[in-house]
Amino acid sequence: MKQGFYTVIENKQIADSTYLIRLSGDNSETGRPGTFVNIRLEGFYLRRPLSVCDSSSDTLTLIYKVVGEGTEALAATPAGAMLDLLTGLGNGYDTTVLNNNSRPLLVGGGCGSPPLYLLAKTLIRAGVPVVIILGFNRQSEVFFEEEFRALGADVTITTADGSHGRRGFVTDAMGDIKYDYIFACGPEPMLRAVYERSGNIPGQFSFEERMACGFGVCMGCSCRTKYGPRRICRDGPVLAKEEIIW
């Protein structure tokens, strides 16, 4: 974990109430896919956790949905502004369990997809082919379809109302795909459906929970697992499929 100040390079709407923010600062701790940062916003006591969507040596990209006052304030932050971030939070996805013969399936729901971008990039760079299903409610919410394709991933989009890609839920698209490992991130009902739909296939699921500290000291974000209590912010947000209790 590191604390640092980041400069907003750009902050733009990319879909229905969905924004992409690019930041420049010390990225020594943002490279692991599935980790998150915790952002301090003027006038708010607690920080706001957001997953790393992409990270290069000098640029950090986050994608967030405006759901309340904090994300509203973030959306109003202009380029040039400075933000106080804690970076390198959480365990992240463990990609060492895969090899070039692995056939992982990545499944993302709504604003749960951003961390899958850095994950897909990391896997593809390591020579692992990536198939990904991204679920949204409607066309106007879809983002990053092309960006995932540009990485070389095989992308399926589902929308609940059929306005873009395939009609239905991510799980409806899962039947057509052959995979031996699963990575998922999204709202809990989606995670659970994916968990069940994927049967015995092993995988890693990324969770969200209300947080205070985000670095493991307040016990605000605990969840029960088969191996005892885990802090989503430090022992997670990624849990191995076999430890999850719903």
Partner: protein, 304 residues
């Protein structure tokens, strides 16, 4: 040169800054960030007899002026603390640590205090009496003078370390409870624990916390905490540890002027992991600004 040293129940502290229980874990997450030996000491997570998961989530929420928590005393239980946490702590923290304990019956308090009293690393036992008494209708020990006194009586027997009772602010007359604790043999008092608060999510019209209500901490409780330290200072003659919303070196000085011998910093650690380090670094500047040569002498200045 300003002097930041204070003495708490016979143990000298390099400075009065003490991370508060529940906001510093058992120390090692912070030890990865900075040398925690710069602290006066710290108070570890409230420890009970048995391991506890605590309350269902969501169990933290944001409010104007701070946060709410209904963690519900998640901890690995006293045996794991003694066998795993303390040995691990020993490697990174060389000072006496403050053991914060909790219980749901006087007997539980007594036995946790007895076990921890055997640990050399522990300098003080800080007893959180804001827990519900499961045999007493579920109201918190700390909100009833007689029940508070009973806990102190049991723990006093078992504790072979200086005994600090941590008071609940959710009472009509905190001085009455303070006096009872002093009469039962408390060596010092910590105040305040969290105020009971609530937050509602307008998207659902429901309380944010699964537990409905939670403990309110952060800058918004500072005025209440300062007042209670001031009032209790007049009521007892044992030392006080002031806390509640302390976020700056200025706040530390105010708490001490109101009557505190040492000061705990809680929620501030959660939003700025370097809060205590920063406050300690800032103390000399602020002392000089306000002409305070020795912190020790500041205690109770507002009463003189």
């Amino acid at each position: 040169m300003v002097d930041t040293k204070v003495t708490l129940c016979g143990i000298e502290l390099d400075n009065p800054v003490i991370p508060a229980s529940g906001t510093f874990g058992y120390g090692h997450e912070f030890a990865e960030l900075y040398d925690i030996n710069i602290l006066g000491t710290f108070s570890f997570k409230g420890t009970t007899q048995n391991p506890r998961f605590g309350n269902p989530t969501p169990r933290v929420a944001e409010v104007p002026g701070g946060m709410l928590n209904s963690v519900g005393l998640q901890n690995p239980g006293v045996r794991a603390v003694i066998e795993e946490e303390l040995p691990r702590l020993e490697r990174v923290f060389k000072k006496p640590v403050m053991a914060n304990i909790s219980g749901f019956s006087p007997e539980e308090y007594e036995s946790v205090a007895a076990e921890l009293s055997e640990c050399e690393q522990i300098g003080w036992i800080e007893v959180n009496i804001s827990c519900p008494n499961v045999h007493g209708g579920g109201i918190a020990f700390g909100t009833d003078p007689a029940q508070a006194a009973e806990v102190v009586r049991w723990v006093r027997r078992a504790a072979k370390k200086p005994l600090i009772i941590k008071l609940s602010p959710n009472v009509t007359d905190i001085c009455e409870i303070a006096k009872r604790c002093e009469a039962e043999g408390a060596d010092a008092l910590s105040l305040i624990n969290t105020l009971v608060g609530m937050q509602i999510d307008l998207k659902t019209n429901k309380p944010v916390l699964a537990n409905m209500v939670g403990g309110y901490s952060g800058p918004g409780i500072f005025p209440v905490a300062l007042r209670m330290v001031y009032q209790v200072y007049k009521s007892v003659s044992i030392p006080l540890i002031g806390m509640g919303g302390v976020s700056s070196a200025e706040d530390v000085l105010k708490m001490m002027a109101a009557g505190a011998t040492a000061v705990q910093v809680g929620s501030a650690n959660l939003i700025n992991p370097y809060a205590c380090r920063d406050i300690i670094a800032d103390l000399p500047r602020v002392m000089e600004k306000y002409g305070v040569g020795s912190l020790r002498e500041l205690t109770g200045a507002a009463h003189r």
